[in-house]
């Protein structure tokens, strides 16, 4: 028993001490620093307009109105882009369910814009890893420019210019993939409509 207690004391002290240090002090310290230096990022990079929170720059939203650019398909439950329960696609390439879903997504895109017969960029018909992907590829944006312009009754050049504005290149010209932020682009489209 004595022997046991001799071992127990350091076990409890180290566990308790490190719980305090790495479980309380460490996250509080990081939070304090983060909220002081980077309050916008630390709170979720929220987009606010007239006191209303319209979303986060980093979290995608569902779109199915042809007047908006659409994002990546999302498999979160019970509805797409549920940012309270992120979930990714776990369908293997060999799974017939995947082929079915991609077929349905192609049909939806083609119904929204029947005159566009070009092949669809793959990221626009495959589900993202987070179910919250805020971006699409440049090709996926390009594919939708004509549709959005037609439905909104504006020049394609105007829409294309907005797409360029919300395109993020590779970091330092090397890292990641070039991409377009769908929510920010759509908000800009609405702002454009409100101005004119």
């Amino acid at each position: 028993m004595r022997q046991f207690l001799r071992y127990l004391r350091p076990v409890l002290v180290f566990l308790g001490g490190f719980t305090l240090l790495t479980g309380v002090i460490y996250p509080l310290l990081v939070t304090a620093v983060a909220q002081t230096i980077f309050p916008h990022q630390a709170n979720g990079s929220l987009v606010e307009q007239d006191g209303v929170i319209l979303g986060s720059e980093l979290i995608g939203q569902p779109f199915d109105d042809p007047a908006y650019f659409w994002g990546r398909p999302s498999l979160t439950q019970p509805y797409p882009y549920n940012a309270a329960a992120s979930a990714g696609s776990t369908l293997a390439p060999s799974n017939p369910a995947l082929t079915e879903r991609v077929t349905a997504r192609i049909a939806a895109l083609e119904t929204a814009h029947p005159t566009n017969t070009r092949p669809i960029p793959v990221d626009l018909v495959t589900a993202s890893a987070s179910g919250l992907d805020p971006h699409i590829s440049l090709a996926a944006a390009e594919y939708q420019i004509e549709r959005v312009a037609e439905v909104r009754g504006v020049e394609t050049a105007v829409v294309r210019q907005l797409v360029d504005e919300y395109t993020e290149g590779r970091t330092f010209g090397v890292l990641g993939e070039p991409r377009v932020n769908v929510l920010r682009l759509n908000l800009a489209l609405d702002a454009l409509a409100a101005d004119s």
Binding site: Y26, L46, T90
Partner: protein
């Protein structure tokens, strides 16, 4: 072209950072703390005083193992209780309920054993308190435990005629105070600058611009103190995510830059420990040799994964889908991947996270092409020795090195030596245990799962891919990786419970033989190298060790892989 630029940049940065860190770590473990960390010395001494530990009192291998097991068991118990009681504890702004017993058991074992398998969905299952006091603390302590065991083994190799291997308390405390904690603070703040959330306010509600579902006109955005947890999950090769989808979540890994830095953090300490090893055994060449083995195997697997994913999904070729790679799109197999990462950063991450026993993901491995998914699976099955877990990766590779010199010794009929230590029956027995237990756990677990209805019910994809899901789950838990094919359904208690057992065996039945080897080697004299000694710091040895690692892995797993990913690739 861009693919190779990103990959080269990653590898060069990794090696440039690992070198100075490894050298500094060797000094720290030898009791020579660098000047700028000295202020923490008083904190370190305070710990020893409160605990009644004399920092100069060293332990035998049995004492070292006993203390380590007790400490890990206490950590397990603390996490289990926290998860079971979280509903009644503070810092639960989203009102989550208590975690079920099977899930709490699996999660507690998972974090204490440095596996961090996720059967739980972060934001939907765990309160902030559970994440902080439970998981984040174990992220530090399980990593520090692995590093301590490795340091004990290094002492066993470099000392002679002693039965003392150092003090677990000292090695563990220094790992946390001087290595993990400072790095984690720097990394966490950097990640916040990129957009990783760090707040104690609960979820935020946004008004949707174009509600597509009548049930959802608003979007509830889960938040939390994520950055502090993500930093240590990467540095400690833990990998358990704050959010369900781990580092694929835009608030956990928002930009290509945050992605690069997190990937560096995954392999940083395992790579640095090779330099630490070199310095502690008195020959940096020996450490660089082991690092070379890791880098070569890593690059070979990485190339395969990137290539396989860039090929895309042949079943989509018949549809009106454009999978070609161009300046305007990453192309390839984008199912289960994020647009900002594309193919290259997803495959690079998948390779790094399974080479190391990290297990965090930024894409869904389950949705990979069969060949692409084989890469992370086989990397885990090799025993997590290509970088591997912090500490555990290198001690695993050292077990392979012992086997390698033994096999070479048999060929020429001489007593094998490693670093001047004679390798005899006892060391070989222990090394064999270290190498053979993980495959045994993985294969038996998979066999049990596929032959029972409880096990079969977990697979969510039909055909050979369903088998791959099960094999992946046991490969991951039986090697303390923790990444998931993600599709496996963990609602039946079969998987949480069998997984917990696999993780326990893989962690502790390996640590104990490692310490036993350390204890046995420490007693031996270092004999000078002779003409008959196989040099273990040569290119020849690099090749030989790679061959042994691949041979053991392939012999154990080729039949199982043939039934899963290989047949699936052929059927596509």
């Amino acid at each position: 072209m861009n693919a190779w630029m990103q990959i080269s940049l990653y590898l060069v940065l990794l090696l440039l950072l690992a070198w100075p860190l490894g050298v500094t770590m060797a000094r720290i473990y030898q009791g020579n703390v660098p000047g700028w960390l000295r202020p923490f010395r008083s904190l370190e001494r305070l710990f020893y005083r409160l605990a009644g530990v004399d920092e100069n009192q060293e332990m035998t291998w049995q004492q070292y193992a006993l203390v380590l097991l007790l400490f890990n068991a206490a950590g397990f118990l603390a996490v289990y209780l926290l998860l079971r009681l979280q509903a009644w504890l503070p810092l639960n702004p989203d009102g989550l309920t208590a975690v079920s017993p099977a899930l709490a058991l699996n999660t507690a074992v998972s974090f204490a054993s440095n596996t961090n398998w996720q059967f739980y969905g972060g934001e939907t299952t765990l309160s902030y308190l559970s994440q902080m006091l439970g998981l984040a603390v174990q992220n530090f302590l399980s990593a520090a435990s692995g590093m301590a065991v490795l340091v004990a083994l290094m002492r066993g190799l470099s000392r002679q005629r002693t039965d003392k291997l150092g003090s677990f308390w000292v090695d563990m405390t220094r790992s946390v105070l001087y290595i993990l904690l400072p790095l984690a603070i720097l990394l966490a703040v950097f990640l916040v600058s990129q957009g990783v959330v760090q707040t104690f306010a609960g979820a935020e509600t946004a008004v949707l611009l174009d509600p597509t579902d009548a049930a959802a006109t608003t979007q509830t955005i889960a938040r939390g103190p994520a950055a502090s947890q993500v930093a240590i999950k990467q540095l400690g090769t833990n990998g358990g995510g704050f959010f369900n989808v781990n580092s694929a979540h835009p608030l956990e890994n928002p930009t290509p830059l945050s992605n690069l830095i997190q990937m560096l953090a995954i392999l940083l300490i395992p790579a640095a420990l090779c330099f630490t090893f070199g310095d502690m055994v008195g020959s940096r060449r020996q450490g660089v040799t082991l690092l070379a083995v890791m880098v070569i195997v890593f690059v070979a697997f990485l190339g395969t994964a990137v290539y396989a994913e860039q090929q895309g999904n042949p079943r989509l070729d018949a549809l009106a889908v454009d999978q070609t790679i161009s300046a305007a799109q990453p192309g390839g197999n984008m199912e289960g991947k994020e647009a900002r990462f594309g193919i290259v950063n997803s495959a690079l991450w998948a390779t790094a996270t399974t080479a190391a026993s990290n297990g965090s993901v930024n894409s869904m491995h389950d949705a990979y092409t069969p060949l692409g998914g084989l890469v992370p699976m086989l990397l885990m099955q090799l025993g997590e020795v290509i970088f591997g877990g912090v500490g555990s990766g290198l001690y695993g590779l050292l077990a392979f090195a012992i086997v390698a010199v033994f096999v070479a010794g048999l060929m020429v009929g001489r007593t094998p030596e490693y670093l001047g230590k004679k390798i005899e029956v006892y060391e070989m027995k222990m090394a064999t245990l270290i190498i053979l237990i993980p495959p045994l756990v993985v294969l038996l677990g998979t066999a049990l799962a596929v032959s029972t209805s409880a096990g079969q019910s977990g697979a969510t994809n039909p055909g050979p891919h369903g088998f791959s899901q099960i094999l992946y789950a046991f490969s991951s838990q039986g090697n303390n990786n923790g990444s998931a094919f993600a599709g496996l359904n963990g609602s039946h208690p079969f998987y949480p419970l069998s997984g917990a057992l696999a993780m326990l065996i893989a962690r502790y039945w390996l640590m104990i033989p490692v310490l036993a080897i350390a204890g046995s080697l420490a007693r031996k004299q270092i004999v000078p190298a002779s003409a008959g000694t196989l040099p273990t710091d040569s290119l020849l040895f690099v090749g030989w060790l790679i061959a042994i690692v691949l041979l053991v892995g392939a012999l154990a797993f080729l039949p199982a892989l043939a039934l899963g990913p290989i047949v699936e690739q052929l059927l596509l």
